[in-house]
């Protein structure tokens, strides 16, 4: 029997609907998201276009703040400080990678934790691990939402995360080990260098692939009936058409025969990741509004 396909686009659409309602309740205040960009990289441009489209679709004010290619570290941090102080924006994201001469960690650490909707400030990462109020990095947050909203809550299950990056693997592990509804899982973090990777992945009730290599999770590595979440996006040449196409880290055509449920690429985690950035921005605006009400 073939697996249920977890439709990330449908989940993202539901999340965006909820966001519209939450944004309505914040009126007349309008949530705002500012993207800070150094130089102009065409890959960044298409990413930013996607964010702009998402913001418009739910009613979030958005703005791209461009800094020249030769901006100094001080100039960059001043721009961050200006956005921290700018009441129109509740969320700030910093487009990476920065030019090499700039210190990414220092720039990320300058973003106010109250506006750090990408969750990249180490303080945000620390709060995530400690189970305090913070913002979850969008991809990791999206995986959790996708699981819970598709009826595959990880509570009490064994989740194996392949990949230990600071933006996916580690925050996801941090989210799922919390003693919270929709989490409270037993979590194993492994990586492509893991010697007995197949043995570990075969013990997973839920397998999350976040490696960044095309189709490395093969059917023999997946337990019958597992739920498989594919975070990878890899461009390969299609042997039939000769044209590039996107595939995940999971060998979809084979694994779909074994898994109970699986996310496709594209159309799986990607759309939900985009929705979670919007969701964090709305959350930031809601927190600010709650603080203000509290102060009155």
């Amino acid at each position: 029997m073939s697996a249920a396909i977890i439709d990330g686009r449908a989940v993202a659409a539901v999340i965006r609907d909820e966001l519209r309602a939450r944004i309505g309740r914040l009126s007349p205040s309008v949530p705002g998201l500012a993207a800070l960009v150094v130089g102009d990289d065409p890959a960044a441009a298409s990413y930013l276009k996607g964010i702009a489209k998402g913001c418009e679709s739910v009613g979030i004010r958005h703005e791209v703040v461009r800094l020249p290619d030769d901006v100094t570290q001080e100039g960059l941090e001043e721009a961050v400080a200006a956005l921290n102080a700018d009441a129109r924006f509740h969320g700030i994201i910093l487009q990476l990678p920065l030019p090499r001469r700039l210190n990414t960690l220092r720039a990320e650490s300058a973003i106010s934790p109250d506006k750090d909707v990408d969750g990249t400030n180490p303080v945000s990462a620390g709060k995530l691990l400690l189970g305090e109020d913070t913002f979850f990095p969008s991809t990791a947050y999206g995986v959790k939402e996708l699981l819970v909203r598709s009826g595959h809550s990880p509570e009490g299950l064994h989740v194996v995360i392949c990949g230990r990056s600071n933006i996916v693997g580690k925050p996801l592990a941090g989210i799922l080990i919390q003693k919270q509804p929709g989490a409270n899982a037993t979590v194993t973090v492994c990586h492509t260098g893991t010697r007995n990777l197949a043995e570990i992945t075969n013990s997973a009730d839920i397998l999350v692939a976040a490696i960044g290599r095309a189709r490395v999770i093969t059917a023999d590595m997946v337990r019958q009936g597992a739920v498989v979440i594919d975070v990878g996006v890899n461009q390969v040449d299609d042997p039939l058409t000769g044209k590039p196409r996107l595939v995940g880290d999971v060998d979809f055509d084979a694994v779909v025969q074994k898994a109970a449920a699986i996310t496709p690429v594209p159309g799986g985690t990607g759309p939900v990741t985009a929705a979670m950035l919007l969701s964090n921005t709305v959350l930031a605006a809601e927190r600010l509004s709650a603080t203000r009400r509290h102060a009155l």
Binding site: P122, L129, I177, V189, I200
Partner: protein
């Protein structure tokens, strides 16, 4: 052959000797590594622990300033005290003894400690930096476990599976952060005492770390041959044959597990003594950094 016993007291004494030398090396610069602690109220357990830290600091040649604040100290007073310690250049390490009385906000108090002086590693910035693989102070318990493994020649954990039975902020989470660092490169599983079918995880462990405070919770059938077992439990069992009428045991059923293990920490005398030692080590390191910058 039964596994080697990892002697936390011996390793701890060795480290404290080294620390005394490092403290002496700072003397020509007129720097005496100084540990400041804050105890609010007079909970006997916490008071005892603060005295232990004070004595250990003094014995290793550090200065210790333990501020004992009344039980009705306000949040503002506590934060003001932290702030004054942050500002003092002659104080290198600061800790807030937990738990705080319930009217105080622990999260805010810990976040008030300057990360450069956060020798307990509880500030969210320290936790986050460590989790992201950056340099930071890490809590004494996981730091002590790593140091014990290193000094016992057991720290080569690449391609090894570490299973941690504990997910709290003092042990499981920060230890997972250390073990997943690329320079360590272990595969890490975080379970808790109530994980369904726990044995299926513990049996995979090359390194097993347990901190659940349930006596003899890990039995020999739950570990694999060759495991390195670290026990951070402390439980008292009635024992009429002992002068106190009770006896301290860990979470691991020691003798039977030892028969299968490569190495194992005892309770008492294993991971416990390392904790205060690491707090001192962090304070000396903070002072050395200050000396370096001066």
């Amino acid at each position: 052959m039964p596994g080697e016993i990892i002697d936390g007291r011996r390793i701890s004494a060795e480290i404290r000797q080294e620390l005394a030398q490092r403290v002496a090396a700072l003397a020509p610069q007129d720097i005496v590594p100084t540990l400041a602690g804050m105890l609010v109220g007079d909970d006997p357990g916490s008071s005892g622990y603060v005295r232990l830290k004070e004595k250990a600091a003094l014995d290793a040649g550090l200065r210790a300033e333990m501020l004992r604040l009344p039980a009705d100290t306000s949040q503002q007073e506590l934060l003001a005290t932290v702030d004054s310690l942050n500002r003092r250049s002659d104080v290198h390490g600061i800790f807030v003894q937990l738990p705080l009385p319930s009217h105080l906000d622990e999260e805010a108090a810990l976040a008030a400690v300057s990360p450069e002086k956060d020798v307990d590693g509880f500030h969210p910035m320290s936790v986050g930096r460590s989790w992201l693989g950056q340099d930071a102070f890490v809590p004494a318990t996981p730091a002590g476990i790593m140091e014990m493994l290193r000094r016992s020649g057991l720290a080569e954990l690449r391609h090894r599976h570490a299973v941690i039975v504990n997910t709290d902020n003092l042990v499981g989470k920060p230890l997972a952060a250390l073990l997943t660092r690329p320079d360590v490169g272990a595969d890490v599983t975080l379970c808790s005492g109530d994980t369904p079918n726990l044995a299926r995880f513990t049996r995979q462990a090359d390194l097993l770390v347990v901190a659940v405070n349930m006596p003899r919770f890990i039995t020999a059938d739950m570990v694999k041959e060759g495991v390195v077992a670290v026990d951070f439990g402390s439980n008292y069992l009635d024992d009429p044959s002992s002068p106190q009428g009770r006896r301290l045991v860990g979470d691991i059923d020691f003798e039977p597990v030892r028969q299968k293990a490569t190495a194992i920490t005892p309770v008492p005398g294993g991971a416990g003594p390392m904790t205060v030692t690491m707090l001192l080590a962090h304070t000396v390191l903070a002072a050395e950094r200050r000396a370096h910058h001066a």
